[in-house]
Symmetry: C3
Subunit: 338 residues, 3 copies
C-alpha cells in the first residue's frame, strides 16, 4: 500500500510487501538510532504523543523515534482526561487534537477507541495500543527482531522454528505474532502453556491453514529443544478473575541458564515482549541469562525505535529525504548498541 498519510491501526492492514517496506526503512534508520548520524528531516514537524493510558516505555520509544528524525513532541500521559470527563466524544477530541500536530500516536484503554479516533483525525494516527485489541508497533518490532536474529544465523522468516511460552490465552503480543507468521512459509510453531491458558483455536487454525506445523504442549523443556526462537511471555495477571487464580500459573515456566544449556540448541534466541516479571514468584527469564548473547530482549526494545522511526517516515513521506538532511554525531556515544 501507499503509506503516505495513512493511519496504522492494525497489523491486518499490512501485506507481506508492506512489512518488507517497513523493515527495509527500519534498517536504513540504524545509523540515526545508533547515533552515528543525525538527521533533521522532520525539523519543524510535531508529534502528538497522546497516551490516555500510562505506558512509559512505549511513550518514550515513540517520542525518541520522532526526535531522532528531528521533530518535536507534545504529549499527554494519561492523567488528565478533563475534556473526556466533561462528556466530550472521541470525535471531538480527535478533531481538536489533530489541529495541533502533524501525526498522532494514541494509546487508550478501550478496545476500538483508536480506530474511532483515527476516523475523525485530520492527521495520520498510529495505534500505540488500544486495550486488548491491537498494538501493531509491538507486533512489528517482534517480527523485525526475529528476522534480524535469524539473519545472523543465515536463516529467514520463511523457514524457522519458534516456541511461544506462557500465557497464550490472554497475551496480545503472541496473538499478533501468530497472525503475522501467517504471511510467511514453513514455520514450526510450538505452543507451550497450561491447558487453561492455551492459544485460542482461531489462531491455531489460521497457522495450520497457512501450512505451518503447530505443536501444543504444557512442558517447557522438550519444547525448547528444537527451536530457533524461544519467546517467553508474562502472565497477564490483570486479566484473571482473581489474584488467586492467577497465582496458580505464576512461575510455571522459568527459563534459566542451566535449562538453556541443557535443552536448547547453542544459539537459540530468547525473546520476551517485556516487562519481564523478575520477582521470585514469577521469574520467567532468570537474571543469570543476562550475559547470554542470545538474550535478545533489549535488542527488541532497541529495534522498536527503528520500527517506529520507519512508520513515521513512511506515513509522513520523508523516507527519501532522511539521508539528505544528515550529518555526523558530534558528542560522546560510547558503543551501546550491539
Amino acid at each position: 500500500m501507499n503509506f503516505t498519510g495513512r493511519h496504522i491501526l492494525s497489523i491486518d492492514q499490512l501485506s507481506r510487501g508492506d512489512i518488507d517496506t517497513i523493515f527495509s526503512v527500519a534498517d536504513s534508520m540504524e545509523p540515526y538510532a545508533h547515533r552515528k548520524k543525525v538527521t533533521k528531516v522532520l525539523d519543524g514537524a510535531i508529534l502528538g504523543n497522546m497516551f490516555f493510558e500510562p505506558s512509559t516505555r512505549t511513550r518514550v520509544s515513540f517520542g525518541s523515534a520522532f526526535n531522532l528524525l528531528g521533530g518535536e513532541v507534545r504529549e499527554t500521559t494519561g492523567v488528565e482526561n478533563s475534556a473526556i470527563a466533561k462528556g466530550e466524544s472521541l470525535y471531538d477530541t480527535a478533531r481538536v487534537l489533530s489541529g495541533y500536530s502533524d501525526v498522532i500516536v494514541m494509546r487508550h484503554p478501550q478496545s476500538g477507541s483508536v480506530a474511532e479516533f483515527a476516523e475523525a483525525s485530520r492527521v495520520p494516527v498510529l495505534n500505540g495500543g488500544d486495550g486488548d485489541n491491537e498494538h501493531p508497533s509491538q507486533a512489528l518490532l517482534d517480527l523485525y527482531t526475529i528476522r534480524k536474529e535469524l539473519d545472523t544465523k543465515g536463516r529467514s522468516l520463511d523457514d524457522f522454528r519458534i516456541a511461544l511460552i506462557g500465557d497464550l490465552k490472554y497475551g496480545r503480543t503472541v496473538h499478533s505474532l501468530c497472525k503475522l507468521l501467517g504471511l510467511y512459509q514453513r514455520v514450526k510453531v510450538v505452543l507451550v502453556s497450561p491447558n487453561e491458558l492455551a492459544m485460542p483455536d482461531s489462531y491455531i487454525d489460521a497457522l495450520r491453514h497457512s501450512g505451518h506445523e503447530v505443536v501444543e504442549t504444557d512442558e517447557l523443556e522438550p519444547a525448547i529443544a528444537g527451536v530457533d526462537i524461544a519467546y517467553s511471555t508474562r502472565l497477564q495477571e490483570e486479566r484473571f478473575a482473581s489474584a488467586e487464580e492467577a497465582k496458580l500459573y505464576r512461575g510455571r515456566y522459568r527459563l534459566n541458564q542451566a535449562i538453556y544449556t541443557k535443552y536448547c540448541e547453542p544459539n537459540t534466541v530468547i525473546m520476551h515482549p517485556l516487562p519481564r516479571d523478575s520477582r521470585s514468584g514469577a521469574n520467567e527469564l532468570d537474571n543469570d541469562l543476562n550475559e547470554n548473547p542470545n538474550l535478545a530482549i533489549f535488542r527488541q526494545t532497541d529495534n522498536g525505535v527503528l520500527v517506529r522511526m520507519a512508520l513515521f517516515a513512511l506515513v509522513l513521506d520523508v523516507v527519501g529525504q532522511v539521508d539528505r538532511e544528515s550529518r555526523p554525531v558530534n558528542w560522546y556515544t560510547g558503543s551501546r548498541f550491539q
Copy 2:
C-alpha cells in the same frame, strides 16, 4: 501598547488597537500553523508551560504554538506541586521558574494567582486560565474566530448579531466575550438562558452602555432566527450547589440540524468554547451538525494556535523576523485546514 516583554493576564489590558495588532499577527501565522512553511524564529528559546491544573487541550495548544515558532517546551502538568505543598510562596515559585525559560504560560486553579505569579516573574507570563477569573487566550480566539467567520460573509465586528446560549451565569468565556464586544459598534446580542442562569447585570449594562442592543429570552428557537453567530455553551455543572440542581438545566437547549434548517438563516455560524457535552442528557450541539460547514467549533481551536503564536511572537518581539527564518514544509501535510 508595546507588547515586548509584557505579561498578558487579562483582556482588560487590551485596547481595540491592541486586539487589531494581535489579530493581524495571528493572520500572518497561518502559513506556519497550516503547514505550508516552517519558521525557526524562536530556535533556542524555551517556553515554561506551567499547568498547575490539568487542561490537555489548552496546554498542548500553547506548546504546539511555541514549537511552530521553532522553540522548545518544558512543562508541568499539575500533578506534582511538591514545592508548593512544602510551603513555598507563589513569589518563590515564580522567581525560580522564571530562571528556566524565556516565557511562561501559567494555569492555576486559584483566581488571581497568575497575576501574583507574574508580579514576581522575571520573564513574560501569559495567563493560561486562573480559576473563574480570566482565560484571555480563549476570549481572543473566540473573537478572532467571529471576525474571520464574519469576514467570509462580508461583515465585520462593527455590525453583526450574536446569540449567546446556555449557562450565561457561570460561563467564563461568554463573560469575557461580552467585555470584548464592548470595544466594537452596533452589535446585537441575544442572551438565551433559563432565568436562573441569566447573564449577570453588570455585563448587560456594559453592553448597553456601549450602545449595543441586548435582548434576553429563555427560548432557543426564536432567538437563533436572526443572528449571524449562535454561540452555545456547556453547563458549568461543577459550579452548582448540587448535581441535582445542575440536572434541572442539563439539555435545556439543544441545537441540531433540523432546528438549524428550520430557524436559522442559511449561513449562521455555530460556535462553542468546547468541550461540548455530547452525552445524551446534554447534547448541546448534536453530532448531526458535524458535516454542516457553518459549524466553526474546530476552526475555533485551530484559530487558538494562531492567536497563541501571535502572543508569543509579540511579547518576545520577533514578529518582523518570522518570515526571514522560514522555509517550505517537506513532509506530508494533507489538506487538513479549511
Copy 3:
C-alpha cells in the same frame, strides 16, 4: 578524572580538580543560560529525564539545561511506574530506557537505586536525587554559588566563614556541603541547630580532620554575627516520627531584615536550598529579605542551570564545541539575570 561517558552519582567521586573543571565549564555556560547567545552543540541529542519521584524544579532545571545546549528532552514524571509495578527490575528498566536517549537523569525515592540503575545503563546517568542518599547537582550548585558570591567580595573557598542553620540532622544538602568543604582550606563552620537536630558527628569529625574550625550552637543571633555565608535550611518534616515532634522545631530559627541588620556583617550572603517554607509557622527566611541584594537563593537556582549544563557538556564531551555552534539571541530577553 576524565568525565567523558561517566556516570555522576555522588560527590564522593569528585576531586578538588574535578570540581574546578565543572565550575570553569559552568562559568563558560553563562552567556547561553543568560540568553546572550544560543548554542546548538547538542542539536539532535536526547536526554531521558526520568523522574520516578516528582520534583518540578529539579526536573525542569535539568530539562532546560539540556535544551539550552540544543538537545531534546523526553521525560517521565513519576506517575506511571507500570513496568516496575509489573515486577520489572531496575536492571531491565535501565537496559531498556538507555536505548532511547544519549544521557539519562534519574530521580528515584529509594536510596541507592540510581547507582543500581547506572550499573545497567548503556548511557551516562546523572543522579537527580535518590532518596536520602545523594543529590550531587544540588551540592555542586550550592558550592558553586558560594564560590561566586565570595568572589565578588574578593574571598575564596579556601578562606571563609559559613553558618549552617536549622535541621542539620536530616538535611541532605548540608551533609553534602560539609563533605565538599573538606576539599578546601581554612573554613570556619558554625553549626546552628537545636540539640536534637545537630549535625551527625561523622560530618563534624571530617570537617575538623580537614583542619577546619567548627563551632556548635543552638542560638541564631550570635552565630550569624561573624560569617560570610548564612545558609538556612527547611525542617525536613517528613522525616520526623510524628507531625507533633516536627512542630517542636518549626519556626525555631527565623532570619529577617531586622535581625540581619542588627547582627550580620554588611554583605553577609543568605542562602537556602529551597523550597523555603514561607508559612507563618515556619518562615525560615522572611519575605522582607526579598529586596536584600545579598539574598542569593534565586541566584542558587539560576546557578543550578549552569552546573547542570556543565555536567551534560562534560559527560557528552562537547565542551570545546559549545562556542563553535553558537549565535546571538534574537528575541526579547529583558535583563533578568543579576
